[in-house]
């Protein structure tokens, strides 16, 4: 059960900021991030826009080349592989995108969309039509949709098509990059349930990226909270929601509007004072990136030294000086 499928070690992705003639700085989109994902579990990654969660997901799949660090997939570092090995990695690790309106080629029918990767990876299929219909049925679509174009489908249906394409490759690991944030709540619930069912059935491992804490809680076994390119807290989802350690996590949790009027009134009274906005990742603050917004920031420590990830309780890590022993 606790066998790691993916281990990310000190992953960094810096995007150069070009001036007129030379590079004048770097956006540290992902800055020294490490975590592991166990086989068969869902690891949630939350954070606000621009915190680097999407870049993390893409860097792990090498859709964006990492600046440094290791991505160990099935015990093998995939940061340097090429050719056949890369092709095999592409089959085993897949991604589902946020925007269902641009993630499908408008000129391909559903059949072509799904068969293209299958043909490319040489997966043997007896009857392509039947194969695709079976896949469509497993995501709640049917035969009728086989030869239609993406523009004939709603957002939720397109996400299902995208999902069917992933399933065709029988991957082990899927990055879900905000798969439901463009969808309505009632449709979102359908897709989330389906993702859970498929995980149970095929033993998928998910990296679930989202800014919606409710959705992450629903989906994840373990989760990480990102702020300005850094992981500030990692641990089992339940523990993080019950007992958030990092001041940023606490702030996030107290800021979510709760769909329950009584609870909302109650929480309003003891809500944390939420202040400020995330600064630009081009010039992040010195020391702990969060210290300018942090109510507990200690001058001389938090604004000088970056906190390491500290294991506070079993499997629950936090990068905050509040929890440093001595």
């Amino acid at each position: 059960m606790m066998e790691p499928l993916l281990k990310v070690e000190n992953l960094k992705k810096y995007f150069p900021v070009r001036g007129l003639l030379r590079t004048i700085g770097y956006v540290k989109a992902v800055d020294d991030v490490s975590f592991t994902i166990n086989r068969g579990e869902t690891f949630g990654l939350v954070g606000e826009s621009g915190c680097g969660k999407t870049t993390t997901g893409r860097t792990i799949l090498r859709l964006v080349e990492p600046t440094s660090g290791k991505i160990i997939f099935n015990g093998k570092d995939v940061t340097k592989i090429r050719g056949e090995e890369m092709k095999e990695f592409r089959r085993r690790a897949q991604i589902m995108f946020q925007d269902p309106y641009s993630s499908l080629n408008p000129r391909q029918t559903v059949f072509e969309v799904i068969m293209e990767p299958v043909r490319f990876h040489g997966i043997p299929v007896d009857d392509p039509e039947e194969f695709v219909i079976k896949l469509l049925e497993s995501v709640g679509l049917n035969e009728m949709h086989l030869y239609r174009y993406p523009h004939e489908f709603s957002g939720g249906q397109r996400q299902r098509i995208a999902l069917a394409r992933l399933l065709a490759l029988k991957p082990e690991f899927i990055v879900l990059d905000e798969p439901t944030s463009a969808l309505d709540v009632s449709v979102q619930a359908n897709i989330l349930n389906m993702l859970k069912d498929l995980q149970k059935k095929y033993g998928f491992t998910y990296l679930f990226i989202s800014h919606d804490l409710g959705v992450v809680k629903y989906m994840s076994h373990r989760m990480g909270v990102m702020y300005l390119g850094k992981l500030v807290e990692v641990g089992p989802a339940e523990k993080i929601f019950e007992n958030p350690l990092h001041p940023y996590t606490q702030m996030l949790l107290s800021a979510i509007p709760v769909p329950d009027p009584d609870l909302a009134r109650e929480l309003k009274a003891k809500r944390m004072n939420v202040e400020g906005e995330p600064p630009s990742p081009i010039n992040p603050p010195q020391g702990c990136h969060f210290h300018p917004r942090c109510p507990f920031a200690k001058a001389g420590l938090c604004d000088k030294k970056e906190p390491p990830l500290i294991e506070v309780e079993k499997d629950h890590y936090v990068a905050c000086w509040l929890y440093a022993k001595s």
Binding site: R58, L61, L63, M86, K87, R90, R91, Q94, I95, F97, Q98, D99, S102, S103, L104, N105, P106, R107, T109, F111, E116, P117, F120, H121, L146, Y147, R148, Y149, E152, A162, R165, L169
Partner: protein, 388 residues
């Protein structure tokens, strides 16, 4: 679908038939093609409906249809050969005005001139028919060579970006920095001898080009100049395509489906040609259509400057040039051949503009809307009454 609810004209019904016939034809070779491409056929029909609603587009289509017909069959239906010079038999055929009849003593034939004659006494109708072939072949070769070159370079530049992009686009800029006509003139002046040498050494190409231009063997020595113009135009033609393709590729490559294709592991080449190209080809097609007219105009311009087609090869631009010496007293040479150039250029432009509307999904919907507007107006009025 909903189309059945609206009135279809005879053209629309013809369009439906046409699409169905084409679909059945393809189905003969590809099993189940019809079933798999129902959505595509639906869209084709809509495009044709849109075309049917656009009188300029139909006029353009008719003009171009006629041009293509003349380009292919013109030399075969021409009553007289372009290399037949009546003036040597009967001096009165020299620049004979339209409507003249003349007797040719050696060949013992009577020649009539519906549109007049040139200074060799050649029938202008025949010359225009032969000239249609010349323009047709030149425009096709230029587009066929220049456009793919530009598209490929533009795709590569846009897709890879960085240094490759920089290199390709700077070269493109170099070509675009010169006025196209000047550059073409320069190349057409420099290239003929080498091309002539090549033609002289390769009999296959010599006979091939003579055949496609519908020329007689005596013209072998003039092919060099003709091909020089073609090559010159290819050289000035691709940069514009490289630039527009690069532009569209830059927007398209940011779309998620391209990243999805990468995530599957597809090669850059597959992504460029199978995914990006089909999605950007629409605007390029429009551009090509408009450009056909441009090629014909430039070719006529170059011939007018005595580059390209040498007499006695029939060429519209050349006829205008030759006729201009006798203009305005002998008006027919300039007028009729000039008019042909005008019609063809106009035809391509009308067609191109309509194509732009048809290929743009939004415009297509709006044309579709016009088709259906009538019915909606009625409904609106009815509701308006209820409202009061």
């Amino acid at each position: 679908m909903t189309q059945e609810e609206y009135k279809k004209g005879i053209l629309d019904r013809l369009s439906d038939k046409l699409v169905d016939v084409i679909a059945s034809f393809i189905s003969l070779f590809k099993k189940d093609w019809k079933k798999k491409n129902r959505s595509k056929m639906e869209e084709w029909k809509l495009m044709l409906y849109a075309l049917n609603r656009s009188p300029p587009g139909l006029i353009g289509l008719i003009l171009i249809g006629m041009f293509i017909f003349l380009g292919i069959f013109g030399p075969s239906i021409a009553p007289w050969s372009y290399r037949y010079f009546p003036v040597f038999e009967n001096m009165s055929t020299y620049l004979a005005p339209p409507g003249t009849e003349a007797y040719l003593p050696f060949s013992e034939k009577t020649i009539t001139y519906p549109l007049g004659a040139d200074h060799y006494g050649r029938d202008l109708v025949s010359l225009i028919l032969y000239g249609a072939r010349t323009s047709f072949v030149i425009s096709i070769i230029v587009i066929l060579l220049g456009v793919p070159l530009g598209i490929i370079l533009g795709l590569i530049a846009g897709y890879y970006g960085g240094k490759i992009d920089e290199l390709i686009m700077r070269i493109t800029d170099m070509f675009l920095a010169f006025p196209a006509l000047i550059l073409a003139i320069a190349f057409s002046a420099v290239l003929p001898e080498r091309l002539q040498g090549f033609i002289n050494n390769h009999e296959f190409f010599e006979s091939l080009f003579l055949k496609i231009f519908a020329l007689q063997p005596q013209e072998a020595g003039n092919l060099g100049k003709l091909l020089a113009v073609i090559l010159a135009m290819v050289i000035v033609w691709w940069p514009a395509y490289a630039r527009i393709t690069r532009g569209s590729t830059l927007t398209e490559r940011e779309k998620l489906y391209v990243e999805a294709a990468k995530a599957i592991g597809l090669s850059s080449r597959t992504i460029m040609f199978k995914h990006i190209l089909p999605n950007i080809i629409g605007p390029i097609l429009v551009y090509i259509t408009l450009d056909f007219g441009g090629v014909i105009l430039m070719e006529a311009g170059l011939s007018f400057l005595s580059l390209g087609a040498t007499p006695p090869i029939a060429d519209w631009g050349r006829i205008v040039y030759d006729g201009s010496q006798y203009f305005p007293e002998k008006w027919w040479l300039v007028t009729f051949s000039g008019f042909m150039i005008l019609l063809v250029a106009l035809g391509w432009n009308l067609l191109g503009d309509t194509l732009r509307d048809i290929l743009d999904p939004k415009m297509r919907r709006s044309i579709e809307f016009k088709v259906k507007k009538q019915k909606q107006m009625e409904q609106m009025e009815k509701e308006g009454e209820e409202n009061v």
